[in-house]
C-alpha cells in the first residue's frame, strides 16, 4: 500500500485533472501522468460515440515544444538531420508526421511537426511528441541541434483533441475559421475569446482537431466543448481502440528503437528527395530496405473467431513455424470483432495470407489484412 501511495504521489496531472474527476473519469497511471482511461460511459460507448459524433480527449500529457532558429531554412535543416520527413518544403500552416531516428534507423519516437502560418514566426517549428518519450526526445534533440537552433519545451500548455464527424460543426460554433481549415493544416485561432493554436489532425482516423491552449484556459475551453450535445469526454481506452482500428502506430508497441519506418509501413512519410539524398540517422539501413525490401513488415491481422489476440501473441505460418508477433491487439468496437496488428516476415505479409495466432497455448486461425480496419474519414476540401 505504501509503495502504491508513493508511486501515485510522483504522478503528474494535466490542467484538466479536476475536470476528469468531476466527470467520473477512472484515473490510471499512464506515461507518468494520472489520466482517465474511461468515463462512466465506458470504453465501448465512448469509442462508438467518437465515430458517430465527436469525442473530446485530453492529450496534455504529450510533449509540446518549439524549435527556434533564425529562419525556416536553418531550423528545417537542423530537424531534417534527425528525421526522414520533408521539413524544408513544409509550407506555412502545414503539419507533417515524421519520426526521430537512431543511427541504426530505429524509431526513437514519432511526432507531429507544424510550421506556424504567420511570417513573424519564420524559423519556428512546433513539435508534439509522445508523453513517455519526451524527456529522452528533448535530450536527444538538444544534443544534436546546432548552436543557432534552440528547443523550448512548452510546459505551460494543454493539448485537447476533438475527434469525430461532428467535430467541424462543433468547433465552428466557437471558432468560425476551424471548419475552413484543411486536413494537416494548422493556424493560430481564437476559440470563444481564448487564444489557441489548432490543427486539423488526430489519432482516430476521423476528421477532427488538436487544440493547443494555455494551461490556465484549458478547463474553460474543455467545458465549452462539452456543453455541446454532440460532445462526450473520451478516455485513453477508447483512444487506443480508435487508433488501432485506424491502423495507426502506438509508440513503444507498434514502433520502437528496433523497428525502421520501412518495416513499420511508414514509407509514405519519407519524401522522394529524402529517400534519394539520405542525410538522416540510419539512412544506410533505410535506403537498403527501400531498395531490397525489409525482412519483416507491419501488417493488419484479423482473427477468424471472436477471441481477441493481445500484444505479444506469437504469429505462426500454416506449417507451424514462428513468423512474427502481435504488437497491438484487442477488440474493435466499430469493426465489431477482434483486430490486431503486428510484424511478420515479409514473405507472409500479403493480405489474405492465412496465419495462426498462439492464444493461451492453442493455434487460432487468422489472416493478414489491409490496414486500416475502419476507413479514414479525414477532411478533404471540395
Amino acid at each position: 500500500m505504501t509503495n502504491e501511495a508513493n508511486a501515485s504521489e510522483t504522478l503528474k496531472r494535466t490542467p484538466l485533472f479536476a475536470l476528469h474527476e468531476e466527470l467520473g473519469g477512472k484515473m490510471v497511471p499512464f506515461a507518468g501522468y494520472e489520466m482517465p482511461v474511461q468515463y462512466p460511459l465506458g470504453v465501448l460507448k465512448e469509442h462508438l460515440h467518437t465515430r458517430a459524433k465527436a469525442g473530446l480527449f485530453d492529450v496534455s500529457h504529450m510533449g509540446q515544444a518549439d524549435l527556434i532558429g533564425p529562419d525556416h531554412e536553418t531550423t528545417a535543416a537542423a530537424l531534417e538531420a534527425l528525421v526522414p520527413g520533408e521539413i524544408a518544403k513544409l509550407g506555412p500552416g502545414r503539419q507533417r508526421y515524421t519520426m526521430l531516428l537512431n543511427e541504426e534507423g530505429g524509431i526513437v519516437d514519432d511526432l507531429m511537426v507544424t510550421r506556424p502560418v504567420s511570417g513573424e514566426d519564420d524559423g519556428r517549428l512546433m513539435l508534439v511528441v509522445n508523453a513517455a518519450c519526451k524527456v529522452e526526445d528533448y535530450a536527444h534533440m538538444q544534443a544534436h541541434l546546432p548552436d543557432n537552433v534552440q528547443l523550448e519545451p512548452l510546459e505551460d500548455r494543454a493539448l485537447l483533441a476533438l475527434q469525430g464527424p461532428a467535430a467541424a460543426a462543433v468547433m465552428g460554433r466557437w471558432c468560425p475559421q476551424a471548419p475552413e481549415l484543411g486536413f494537416m493544416r494548422a493556424s493560430s485561432a481564437e476559440f470563444d475569446g481564448i487564444d489557441c493554436h489548432i490543427s486539423r489532425s488526430g489519432y482516430t482516423g476521423e476528421d477532427g482537431y488538436e487544440i493547443s491552449v494555455a494551461a490556465g484556459k484549458a478547463e474553460q475551453l474543455a467545458r465549452t466543448l462539452l456543453s455541446h450535445d454532440d460532445v462526450e469526454a473520451i478516455g485513453l481506452g477508447a483512444r487506443d481502440s480508435l487508433r488501432l482500428e485506424a491502423g495507426l502506430c502506438l509508440y513503444g508497441h507498434d514502433i520502437d528503437e528496433t523497428t525502421s519506418p520501412v518495416e513499420a509501413g511508414l514509407v509514405w512519410s519519407i519524401a522522394k528527395r529524402r529517400r534519394e539524398e539520405g542525410g538522416f540517422p540510419g539512412a544506410a539501413r533505410i535506403m537498403r530496405e527501400l531498395r531490397d525490401g525489409p525482412g519483416r513488415l507491419r501488417v493488419g491481422i484479423e482473427p477468424e473467431g471472436k477471441a481477441p489476440a493481445r500484444e505479444g501473441t506469437e504469429v505462426r505460418d500454416e506449417s507451424g513455424a514462428s513468423i512474427g508477433r502481435i504488437t497491438s491487439g484487442g477488440f474493435g468496437p466499430s469493426a465489431d470483432g477482434p483486430i490486431a496488428m503486428g510484424y511478420v516476415q515479409s514473405a507472409h505479409a500479403k493480405p489474405g495470407t492465412g496465419v495462426a495466432l498462439m492464444v493461451r497455448g492453442s493455434a487460432r486461425p487468422a489472416r493478414i489484412v489491409e490496414l486500416p480496419f475502419i476507413q479514414h474519414r479525414y477532411f478533404r476540401k471540395k
Binding site: V37, Q38, G42, V43, L44, K45, H47, G237, A238, D240, S241, K306, A307, P308, R310, G330, F331, P333, P338, R360
Partner: protein
C-alpha cells in the same frame, strides 16, 4: 439453503446441493469494463481449485477466471458466447460462467461470505 461464497480474485460460487455455479462479481465486471468476449470450459473437464477455467475479455484487457473450488464442469453458459455484454448487465445472475460438480465441499469453508467479501472490496478501494 443456497450459499454464496467469494474469492479474492472476485469469482463467486453459488452452491446448490453439490453443484456450484461460478461467475465473476459485480465489482469484477465494473473493474473490467465492457465485456466483449468470454471463453468457457468444456463440459466434462475437471479443475483443481485455482486452475484457470475461463477467460473474460474487455475492449482493453483479458482476465482469467479461476476455479474457486475443485470439481467437474457440468454445464457452461453458452449464452455468453453470443452475448458477452450480459456479464456487465447481470454478472451475479444470468451471466454465470459454468457449473462445477464439487469434489470437496469443504473447500468452500476457506472462501469469504457476502459480508467478508464486501469488506474485502471496500478495503481494496
Amino acid at each position: 439453503m443456497a450459499e454464496i461464497k467469494y474469492t479474492e480474485d472476485h469469482e463467486y460460487a453459488h452452491l446448490d446441493g453439490d453443484v456450484a455455479t461460478i461467475g465473476i462479481t459485480k465489482h469484477a465486471q465494473q473493474q473490467l469494463g465492457d465485456v466483449v468476449y468470454v471463453e468457457l470450459p468444456e463440459v466434462g473437464k475437471s479443475f483443481a481449485r485455482g486452475d484457470e477455467a475461463a477467460v473474460v475479455e474487455s475492449v482493453k484487457a483479458a482476465a482469467e477466471v479461476y476455479a474457486p473450488v475443485s470439481g467437474e464442469v457440468t454445464q457452461a453458459n453458452e449464452e455468453l458466447e453470443g452475448n458477452p455484454g450480459l456479464v456487465n448487465e447481470d454478472p451475479e445472475g444470468g451471466a454465470w460462467f459454468f457449473k462445477l460438480k464439487l469434489s470437496d465441499k469443504s473447500e468452500l469453508d476457506g472462501m469469504m461470505d457476502a459480508d467478508a467479501y464486501a469488506k474485502f472490496v471496500a478495503e481494496q478501494g
